[in-house]
């Protein structure tokens, strides 16, 4: 086991603000989120799509949901249609 191999370099390089983080999302009818990171969704406040950079090799095709969780937290999640996985993000 080798500890912290890339940590020092990672600390010193520029990073993106509001970078997406992988999330565990269970969906219900219409592919809307029912659970986010094992916490139940009580309300879907808003939904929108972002389709961008389709002319590049790194296209963006996301379906965003702003949801309220059981704990009262407001969370933004999106499904990346290119990678077919869910992420949370401060949008």
């Amino acid at each position: 086991m080798v500890a912290g191999s890339g940590s020092a370099s990672a600390r010193r390089s520029a990073g993106r603000l509001n970078a997406p983080r992988a999330a565990l999302v269970e969906t219900g009818p219409g592919e809307t989120p029912r659970f986010v990171n094992r916490e139940q969704v009580t309300l879907v406040r808003e939904e929108w799509r972002v389709v961008d950079r389709w002319w590049t090799e790194d296209p963006v095709d996301r379906r965003y949901f702003e949801v309220v969780l059981e704990s009262g937290r407001n969370v933004c999640v999106y499904r990346d249609r290119e990678q077919s996985c869910w992420f949370t993000q401060n949008a």
């Binding site: 086991m1 080798v2 500890a3 912290g4 191999s5 890339g6 940590s7 020092a8 370099s9 990672a10 600390r11 010193r12 390089s13 520029a14 990073g15 993106r16 603000l17 509001n18 970078a19 997406p20 983080r21 992988a22 565990l24 972002v50 961008d52 950079r53 963006v60 990346d80 990678q83 077919s84 996985c85 869910w86 993000q89 401060n90 949008a91």
Partner: protein
């Protein structure tokens, strides 16, 4: 042409240092004792202990059941610090700008000294020679930090293993997943999925790994592809300002210890090498009566050279001593650059707040290292993709 990044590894460095005082234990089953107050997990182990089935990180009870004759060696953090600093200084004397990642592991680039020594291989040979043969050090070199670390991890003692850029992926593929910095739960999860080698992890789609294993899995997947290509920044050389006091017999009395500390502070403040600069970070170390050692580093809120303030900052640490001591040492870890603060008759508006903010940031940097203070820079605030709007950039000015 990208720079060659070299990783110099000394496996089980802490145990090697502890065994220098007890060389007879090097040939018997011995292991570094768990840290006091921490989970009872073994540190590095000797070859004889490994042959008897004891592994580093094993639970103490399990290890003693596996090998009843196992000898536990006390940790000696002060000696480890001293010896490691010696290794780093010898590398720096040879011209390498070193970035220590852990005790026993240091990374550096060869670009600056390749012409001096006549190429990458001779430069790395010089680095090994500078460290000396007693430590069984080994070097891995590659274009990326993780690949260099992986190469050093599989190299034999005294060996230099250089991985060419085009061979990096092929080199990493057969290596075990244990090279990745992950928790034991993650290893178990990956093993449950039938993954054993870096190549097997690298072949999976990145998105699927991130979804299943989260950020840790994503990082591991990235490292399995060789990791990021990043430059190495050498550390700022430490000042060699140390004062020590040896007691004729073991001392535990707090009043005596505080007087000893006061005397050490006076001697350190009088050292001409300080050139009037105040202290930013100091370390208090002691040799314990039972043969062990103790060390605490203190970062000061404001860099100072006032005896009273230094005494007030360091004094309470003496009550944390676990046993009577035979020697007390005071080491300068970092000196501040400025000589003092010039007072002005009329302070410009906002100047004081800016000065205080700058000083605060300097304190954070001193205690957490370079790269820990960042600024947010807007790059495309109009973008519909949230993460494309701004960057977090390290500020070391």
């Amino acid at each position: 042409m990208f720079p060659v990044i070299a990783y110099l590894l000394i496996p089980g460095f802490e145990l090697r240092v502890a065994l220098r005082a007890l060389p007879r234990l090097a040939l018997v089953p011995a292991a570094l004792a768990p840290e006091a107050g921490e989970e009872p997990l073994l540190g590095p182990v000797t070859g004889a202990a490994e042959a008897a089935g004891v592994k580093p990180g094993m639970r103490l009870g399990e290890a003693l059941a596996t090998c009843p004759s196992l000898v536990l060696v006390d940790r000696d953090p002060a000696a480890v610090e001293r010896e490691w600093e010696g290794v780093l200084l010898r590398l720096e004397d040879a011209g390498f700008a070193v970035d220590p990642s852990d005790q026993g592991a240091v990374v550096f680039e060869t670009r600056g000294v390749e012409r001096l020594y006549g190429g990458v291989q001779p430069a790395l040979e010089r680095a090994l020679a500078a460290v000396g043969s007693t430590w069984d050090s080994r070097i891995g070199a590659a274009g990326r930090r993780f690949t260099a670390l992986a190469a050093a991890s599989v190299a034999r003692a005294g060996q230099i293993l250089i991985v060419a850029a085009q061979d990096e992926q092929a080199f990493l593929e057969p290596l075990p997943l244990s090279l990745l910095p992950m928790t034991s739960d993650r290893y178990a999860e990956l093993e449950g999925l039938g993954l054993r080698r870096l190549g097997e992890l690298a072949q999976l789609p990145g998105g699927a790994v991130a979804e299943r294993l989260g950020v840790e899995g994503r990082n591991a997947w990235r490292l399995a592809h060789g990791g990021r290509r990043a430059r190495v920044r050498g550390r700022r050389p430490a000042a060699e300002l140390v004062e020590a006091l040896v007691f004729p017999e073991a001392v535990a009395n707090e009043l005596t210890l505080r007087r000893a500390l006061g005397s050490l502070l006076e001697r350190l403040l009088a050292r001409p090498e300080r050139a009037g600069r105040p202290f930013r970070k100091l370390a208090l170390a002691a040799r314990l009566v039972d043969g062990g050692s103790w060390r605490r580093a203190i970062t000061l809120r404001d860099a100072t050279a006032e005896l009273g303030r230094l005494r007030a900052a360091l004094g309470p640490k003496l009550s944390e001593l676990p046993a009577p001591i035979l020697e007390l040492r005071l080491e300068t870890v970092e000196l501040a650059e400025h000589m003092g603060q010039q007072l002005t008759l009329v302070e410009p508006a906002g100047e004081e707040a800016v000065g205080r903010l700058r000083e605060g940031l300097r304190q954070v940097r001193a205690s957490t290292g370079t790269g820990s203070v960042c600024a947010v820079v807007e790059v495309a605030p109009w973008s519909r993709v949230p993460e494309a709007r701004a960057l977090v950039v390290p500020r070391d000015d």
